[in-house]
């Protein structure tokens, strides 16, 4: 039989968290799964294809990291079940690729021994050999292979061709699969065996991670550490404003020019209105925020790769514990700054179901990137660009404040939930602190490119589609003459009865409905509503910010900002809560409490602002 017609061999990548399984998986299969420098990045099984030089193909499985086969959390359980072949709808893997971090063999060898006891064909990949060499750690791979009784190869998952040796060994093994030749003797102790192997094969330098220790002395310091954390966060929001403005002006000018050109070429009529007032104004109104989103993500990606994030979790653990969250919740909550959906999925690494539920319920309060356009639009329209105290950009300060308000509310909500439940026990935080790592510029750029593509696909997909639909509702039945009499205009006016106490006018009410599908759509919808409402063409080509600055009071703007901190304006997030908690009740509870909170907070904001004379 020819090699290409054989059924693909199923390989599973297993190992402790953060040893580079996903990096290796990406390298082997050409995928782009998320890689970051902390434990618990992968929470689901992922499958990819590898084609060896011989033409034989392999199904490669990437699994969540696990410390042992006695699973403590949901993601560890996934790994255990897949390896054992009891994962629903999934055949057991034919062979295991056990990935180890060469700089941390003490921990990782123990798991390798545990895996070997399963008696499955297995290859050991000693990953991060570059980092080990840099630190002067010497590993005798030949001796390790002899003692373990399974093939051992070195890999560097983040370097091109860094997995070539592994592929060769896989190909050789595929010819004749056989179980490990060594096993633990009866009554042998896993720890003693690990120590014996280490002594025989690994040469450690006197001090291994001097730089890490020096950095940690400052960054984990209870006072300086917190100061450093605050500084980092602060700088990010300053940069979002300081660096993005020139690019945003450029995009704004481009949209305005496009709108004018198309308006001049096409004859007056519905199609011209759809293109100019609908699509160009609406979609252009959202695309302007791409530079800000990318700058924010550049920082998030760099932080993820640096190894700083688990340390921040460590610093904030006390604070989070007194609010009823564990330090384990930190990473899921942090992922929610990109989008609540991966954040909610990442809660699978939280062992305690009660902590997990609490984290899921507050994750939507973290400011996801879809909220950034809404915030940025309102800040740009109502907060003058000014320097405060010599250095700080005031718009950046307000944005920082909004993010901080989201975090503070999450802590407050979880504190309230903690008061409700009877069992108030707290869990000690056990978190692995990875080594610091300087992010590769190439990986950062690829990550940013992907982010940009995700955003642009959203703009060209759901946002564009909703803009077209909204335009129809705004244009008919009266041909765009008087927007207040259009279908959407009437709906908006009906809704504004409900929202009058929080200061929303009918234009905002219109934008809230399509905004449920994706938060940014609120911005494109406002742009379309205003483009259609302004009669003369020069105004239609104008950017949205000055229009709403004219039309709204400051109190309304503040109220809308506050509304967006809380409101669960994202159906996909609610669907994810339903899926992850497997309960309609929890989803309904989350929706209800978030809307109630949003309405109450916006109401308070609006009324206070009006009292203070901002109405």
């Amino acid at each position: 039989m020819n090699a290409e017609t054989l059924a693909p061999l199923r390989l599973a990548l297993v190992g402790n968290p953060n040893c580079g399984k996903t990096a290796l998986f990406n390298q082997l299969t050409g995928s782009r799964q998320k890689v970051a420098n902390y434990a618990g990045v992968t929470v689901e099984r992922k499958e990819g294809r590898l084609r060896g030089p011989s033409g034989r193909s392999y199904a490669v499985l990437d699994l969540p990291g696990a410390y042992s086969l006695n699973a403590a959390s949901l993601d560890e359980a996934v790994a255990r079940d897949v390896i054992r072949g009891c994962y629903p709808g999934e055949a057991a893997p034919d062979a295991l690729v056990c990935v180890m971090d060469a700089t941390n063999l003490r921990l990782h060898l123990r798991f390798a021994l545990e895996l070997r006891e399963l008696g499955k064909p297995m290859i050991v990949a000693v990953n991060m050999m570059d980092a080990a060499r840099r630190r002067g750690i010497g590993i005798d791979l030949v001796e390790l292979e002899r003692l373990l009784g399974v093939p051992v190869v070195e890999t560097v998952a983040v370097r091109r061709h860094g997995a070539r040796a592994l592929v060769e060994r896989i190909e050789r093994m595929a010819e004749a699969l056989h179980a490990p030749t060594q096993r633990l003797g009866k009554g042998a102790d896993l720890h003693a065996e690990t120590r014996r192997l280490l002594a025989a094969t690994v040469r450690m330098p006197a001090r291994t991670a001097r730089i890490d220790d020096a950095l940690d002395r400052w960054l984990l310091h209870p006072l300086f550490g917190l100061l450093a954390l605050a500084m980092v966060m602060f700088l990010i929001f300053q940069a979002v404003y300081a660096w993005a403005t020139p690019l945003m002006d450029l995009i704004d000018a481009g949209t305005a020019w496009l709108g004018e050109t198309v308006g001049a070429v096409l004859p007056e009529g519905p199609l011209s209105s759809l293109l100019v007032d609908g699509i160009i104004a609406g979609v252009g109104g959202v695309i302007v925020f791409l530079p800000q989103i990318l700058i924010l993500f550049a920082f998030i990606l760099a932080l993820e790769e640096s190894g700083y994030l688990p340390r921040a979790a460590f610093l904030l653990d006390r604070m989070m514990a007194s609010a009823g969250l564990s330090g384990r919740s930190f990473i899921p909550l942090l992922s929610s700054f990109a989008c609540a959906i991966p954040g909610i999925m990442a809660t699978r690494s939280i062992q305690d179901p009660r902590d997990r539920l609490a984290t899921i319920l507050v994750a939507p309060l973290m400011t996801c990137s879809a909220r950034l356009p809404v915030y940025a639009l309102l800040i740009g329209a109502f907060i003058p660009q000014k320097t405060v105290w010599g250095v700080f950009n005031r718009q950046g300060l307000v944005l920082f404040g909004l993010y901080a308000a989201g975090v503070a509310s999450a802590l407050l909500v979880s504190w309230v939930m903690k008061q409700w439940r009877r069992d108030k026990g707290e869990h000690a935080l056990l978190l692995e602190l990875p080594s610091y790592r300087v992010p590769h510029a190439r990986d950062l750029l690829i990550g940013l490119w992907e982010r940009a593509m995700i955003f642009l696909k959203r703009v060209g997909g759901i946002i564009l589609a909703l803009t077209v639909l909204l335009w129809v509702l705004l244009y008919f039945p009266n041909g765009g003459a008087d927007v207040t009499q259009s279908l959407a205009g009437r709906i908006g006016q009906a809704l504004s009865v409900v929202f009058a106490p929080v200061g929303f006018n009918w234009q905002i009410c219109i934008a809230l409905i399509p905004g449920l599908a994706a938060r940014e759509v609120a911005v494109s919808s406002l742009a379309t509503v205003y483009a259609l409402s302004t009669a003369d063409d020069t105004a239609a080509a104008q950017a949205l910010a000055p229009l709403i600055n004219d039309g709204w009071s400051l109190a309304t703007a503040l109220s809308l900002l506050v509304w967006y901190i809380y409101a669960p304006m994202c159906i996909s997030t609610l669907a994810t809560i339903k899926r992850e908690t497997n309960s309609w009740k929890q989803m309904a509870g989350a929706t209800g409490y978030l809307f109630a909170l949003a309405y109450a907070a916006a109401f308070a904001t609006y009324q206070v602002a009006v009292l203070l004379g901002a109405g």
Binding site: P267, G269, P270, C339, A465, L469, C570
Partner: protein
């Protein structure tokens, strides 16, 4: 109604249909999947013309591949 205006309305109608489909697929993947199945199954019955069955198979096969219900923010593969 002039020919130009008619053409404009045709283009707009097409855009609206496509948009409605995109939104439905994003927000209600389960419903769209069921709708597709409901459309495809009668087409695949014995005795239908070959072209209709090919079309039905095409609709049904897309059901399997495009069933991602994981929301808007993250591409999921």
């Amino acid at each position: 109604m002039s020919a130009s205006l008619l053409l404009q309305y045709v283009v707009i109608a097409l855009a609206v249909i496509v948009s409605a489909w995109v939104v439905a697929k994003k927000q209600f993947p389960g419903g769209v999947r069921r709708l597709r199945m409901a459309l495809a199954i009668p087409m695949l019955r014995e005795g239908r013309p070959a072209w209709l069955r090919t079309l039905g198979r095409k609709i049904a096969s897309q059901v399997r591949s495009g069933a991602g219900g994981c929301g808007g923010c993250r591409k999921c593969d």
